[in-house]
Amino acid sequence: MAVKDLFMVRKTDYAPVRMAVIIGLVFLVLFVPVIFKKPFPQDLVIKIFLFALLGNAWNILGGLTGQVSLGHAMFFGTGAYTSTLLFLKFGVSPWFGLLTGAMLAGGISLVLGYPSFKLKGHYFAMITIAFGEVFHILFRNIDAFGGASGLFLPITDNSFSAFYFGIHKAPYLYIVFFFYILSTVTIYLLDRSKIGFYLRSINAEEDAARSLGVSSPFYKSIAMFFSASFTAVGGSFYAQYVTFIDPPSVFHLMFSIQIVLIVILGGIGSIVGPLAGALVLIPLSEFTRIYLGGTGRGFDLILYGLLIIVFAVYQPLGLVGMFGRKRR
C-alpha cells in the first residue's frame, strides 16, 4: 500500500477491530462504576473517554479533511474558560456555558481558520502552533480571566443541573461517554454524507476536488467548526470535572500534542482510532506517572515522543492499521 494514501482508510476494512472496540466500550461504560468502586479506575475511564472525544473532534479536521492542527488546546481551553467564567461571573448554568463555549470556539475557528486554509501541510501546522501560543500567553496574563493562578469552581450541591456531582464519578462518566458517542455519531453521519465525500476529496486531491465544484474553503470551515466545538465541549466538561483550570493545564502545546498522538497511535483515518489510542495511551500515561513517582517527571512524555517517532516512521496507520484487516 502506498504510503501516500495515509488518510481515508475505509472504515469497513476494519470490521473485526471495530466490533471488538464497540463491545469493549459498552462493557467499560456500563460496568466500570459497578465493578470498580474505587475512584481511580473510574477516573481512568473518564479520562479515556474525554481524550477519545477530543481525538474524534481533532480527527474531523485532521483525519477526514487532512488539515493537521497542533493547536487544538486553544479550543479546549476556550470551552473550559467560557463555561467557568460565565458561571463565576454571571451565574450562568454550566450546561448553557458548555453550549456557549462550543459555539464560541466554533466561531473563533472560522475566523482564524478561513484565512489559514490556503496554507498547506507544514505551514498550517505551524500557524496552529502560533495560535495556540497566542491563546496561552493571553490567558496567562489577562487577570480578568484569572491570569496565571487560574480559576476555581466552587463546591455546590450535587445536581445534574449544576453539572456537579462531588465525589460521585459515575455521572461524570456517563456524561462524557454521551458526548463521546455524540461525536462518533456525528463523524459517522458526516463521513457518509455529501460533506464527508467532499472533505475526503479535498483531503486526497484538493485541486481535483475544486475542479468538480467543491469549495474547499467552505467545506474546510465546516470541518473546522465541528472540530473546534466538540473540543470545546470536552474543555467545559473537564472544567466541571476537575473544578480547577489554569492556562498550563488547558492551553499548553503538550496538550495539543497529546490529542494528536492519541489519534495517530490509534489510527488516523479510522472512526475508532481515537478510542483505541486513548485506551492505550491514557493508562500508559497514568501508570508511568504513578510508578515513576511525583507529578510530571515527564517520563510519559518521553514515551510519547518515542511512540510518535516509531509510529510515524513504521506504522502510520496506527493500531487500527496494525490489527485491522483489509477486506479487499
Binding site: V3, L119, H122, V134, R297, G298, V313, P316
Partner: protein
Amino acid sequence: METEILQAVVSGLLLGLIYSLVAVGLTLIWGVMDIVNFAHGDFLMLGMYTSYVLYTSLGIDPLLSIPVAGGFLFVVGVVTYRMIIRRIMHAPMLVQIFTTFGMMIFLRYVIFFFFKPDYRSIGNTVLSGNVKFLGVYVGIPETVAALGAFLTTGVIYWIINHTKIGGAITATSENRVAAQLMGIDPDRIFSLSWGIGGAAAGIAGALLSNFFYIFPEVGGVFGLTAFVVVCFGGFGNIHGAFIAGLIVGLIESLGGYIAPPEYKHLFVYSLFIFLLWLRPRGLLGVT
C-alpha cells in the same frame, strides 16, 4: 526615555543576531531537503545544557564549551538524519511533521526527566558585568554571545558560498537530480546539512547559556521564533535568515518595551500569523 528605546533597540539587535544563527541552521536543512525540523529549538536547548553540565561538573567556562556544544550537536544532527530522517524522506508530509515533532518531545522530556523543570543559570564566569556603550548598558555576555553568533553565521555563510562542499550543498538544494548526475552524493550532503544545522543551534545555545535561563522548555520559544525568522527571510535563504533574525529580534524587544514584557512574544507570533496569511495565494501544482 530616548535611552530606553535605544536600550531596547540594542538588546533587540543582540538577541536578533542569535536568532539569525538559529534560523540559519533551520533554513539550511529546509532549503536542502525540504524538511521542517520541529526539533530545532531543542537542539539549541541541548547546547545550553551541554554548557551547563560542563560548567557544573568540570568547571569549564561556557566560552570554552562552545566548540564542544557545536561538535556534540553536529553529531546529534547527523545521527538524527541517518537514523530517522532518512527513513521518512519520501513519506507524506504528515509523517514528516510528526517525526520531528516526536523528536522534539523526546529530547525535551529526556532532559526534563534528568534535570527537572528547574530554571538554572550559569553564574560567575569569565564574562560578566556590563559595559556602557553610547549611553546604553549592555551586558558583556550578551554582547559576546551576539558577536559569537555573528561570527558563526559568517562562517556558515562562507562555507556555503566559498567552499567546494558548500557549492555541493547549494547544488543539491537547487536540483538534486542534476547534482547527483554531477557526482554529488545527496546522502552525504543531507548528513552534512543536518550536522551544520544542529551545530548552529547548539552553538547558539552555548552562547546563550552565559546569560539566559536554562530550562527544558526553552527550545519551544526559540524554535517557534526560528520558524518566524525563516518564514520572513525566505525558506532556504541564508541572507534572508540573517536579516530577518535581526528584524524579529527588534520586534520582540520593541514589543516588550511598548507593551508589558510578558507580551513580547505575542508580537512575534502575530507577525508570523500575518506573514503566513498574506503570502500570495499559490494555487495548484500542475508543474
